[in-house]
Amino acid sequence: MSESLETALRARRGSGGKCLVPYITGGLGDDWIEMVRAAAAAGADAIEIGVPFSDPVMDGPTIQLANDRALAAGVTPQSVLDTLRGADIGVPTAVMTYVNLAFHNGYRRFASNLAEAGVSGCILPDMPLEEIGPWAAAADAAGVETVLLAAPTAPDERLPRICERSHGFVYGVGLVGITGVRSELAHSAKVMAARLKAITDKPVLVGVGVGSPAQAVEVSEVSDGVVIGSVIVQRMLDGGGPEGVGDLVSEFRTALDSR
């Protein structure tokens, strides 16, 4: 069993640093696992592994394209987990995918497949608090940390319930919208971080719309760190390879460390 997300992220925070969690589309390119390793070596505290799904409604064009390419290449949840199982990455991982892949597999089987592949956490963006019960029971039993999203549209009374049920960290959604790089950090990003920091001791990371080292630094003035997705996936789509992904993660790491 690998280290828990929460342990790794608390350790970073405890040492005075900011958490950096890049997202990598599983199966995008034959050497995707090398990109995961490169990201870890470049200073990521944990890695989100996207398991491609046919209908990713929370994702913008970049991650959609990555999904489509990976699916066209025959990538399956099992092929992604098989590759992760043998890989010695050095930091914890969390799978990010959509609820139907877990539901179709059976929640208990899916959760135990994750655990058995050495995956620490799971993020299902189309499974809100209202529907989490059966999955949460399966994930808890398998020792998988279920990370919940908190969105700027949530009323105040909702956030404590999300923070309580979220494990690993609390994923603050930086803007009202889908994944993708924006030219500026949305005003809502720091507000979201502040609302969450005020009510939880769990690590609070902000993602969605965090696309540059400067934006990461800006939101981390309030949050415990960031999740970066589309910017990394774009580098993968552009053929940046492990070196390109490693360099990009390094830029974020350096910026966050030299605040």
């Binding site: 799904f53 046919s54 209908d55 409604v57 929370m58 994702d59 913008g60 959609q64 489509d68 699916l71 399956t76 949840p77 099992q78 959509y98 609820v99 139907n100 892949l101 877990a102 539901f103 179709h104 597999n105 963006p125 189309d126 499974m127 809100p128 608090l129 209202e130 529907e131 919940l148 999203l149 908190a150 969105a151 700027p152 549209t153 949530a154 009323p155 909702r158 999300i162 959604v173 009202v176 919208g177 889908i178």
Partner: protein
Amino acid sequence: MTMTDPGPEGRFGEFGGTFVPETLVPACRELDGAFRDAWADPGFRAELNRLLTDYAGRPSPVTECFNLSQELGVRVLLKREDLNHTGSHKINNVLGQALLAKRMGKTRLVAETGAGQHGVATATAAALFGMDCIVYMGEVDIVRQELNVFRMKLLGTEVRTARSGSRTLKDAVNEAMRYWVSVVDTTHYCLGSAMGPHPYPWMVREFHRVIGDEAREQCRKLLGGGVPDVVVACVGGGSNAIGIFSGFVDTDAELVGVEPAGGAAVTRAVPGIVHGSKSYLLQDEWGQVLEAESISAGLDYPGVGPEHSHLASIGRARYIPVTDAEVVEAFQLLTRTEGIIPALESAHAIAWVSRARDELAGKTVLVNLSGRGDKDVTQMMDILT
């Protein structure tokens, strides 16, 4: 049985729910509250009824098909939703939702459309209420339903092309949901079928209940107090079917939903979760959603509304697939015998009646003729000439 309020969680037996990104949860809850409030308000009901009557042209008649009945040996009655303003049942739901959106202070509408009928209906309501409107439509459907695309533009709506995936209805729903996620404060998502997250499956059914309520009364008069032996409707997401079923679910009438063979989610009966609810869903061995394939853009959808999955699983309704070839036949059959050109979607229901004529011999069948076929005439011209 009766069709009940699925409660704040939106459950129809094991189906339904609110499987949406966290960003949309407050909007779904707000909509649930607003709809409950409006539906209990006689003022709202009266305003909607006025629109349905004076604007949409309700009640729609029930037509007895003497020629077709003779040809098939089955007494066929048609509930004429094709005669509504904009040419299909879709207007019932759209007027309800647009009125609700206005009441909620939303100034813009976004919708998805397959055949374009829901898009046209939404564009129409937007014009009537002076609201901005954006409709997402798959690239494939934009080609096969170009007349409706132009109608929407004339009505002042912006039509946006969904280019992802199969480039049909499923992808138009994805794009509309993605857009809604980013503009949820000002914009109402005017979903076009009895599917999606709670409260849509329930709310859309309630807005279409008028079809079943009228037909029940009309049949009572026509059949000397009785009900038809069978009530049949085509099923895409399931809105016209659930509307007419709702008037007969508490009777002895058999309820039949007709699916396209290439999108027979209920027939295959594998549950899944996409577009906000748990329901039967066409998917591969891993849970990736499959692309439906149908001659009719409005039924070209891999899922179905959750209440249909529930009705199927408890055995209250049965669901049967028909092929594209049978639909083309049925389209011509009704046109030739009755002088009524049906929408390709509605022709699915006729196709089943025609195929099942022996089983139905001597029975009375009420068919929901959900729409008229003007939009399909160019497509049929290509197929038949």
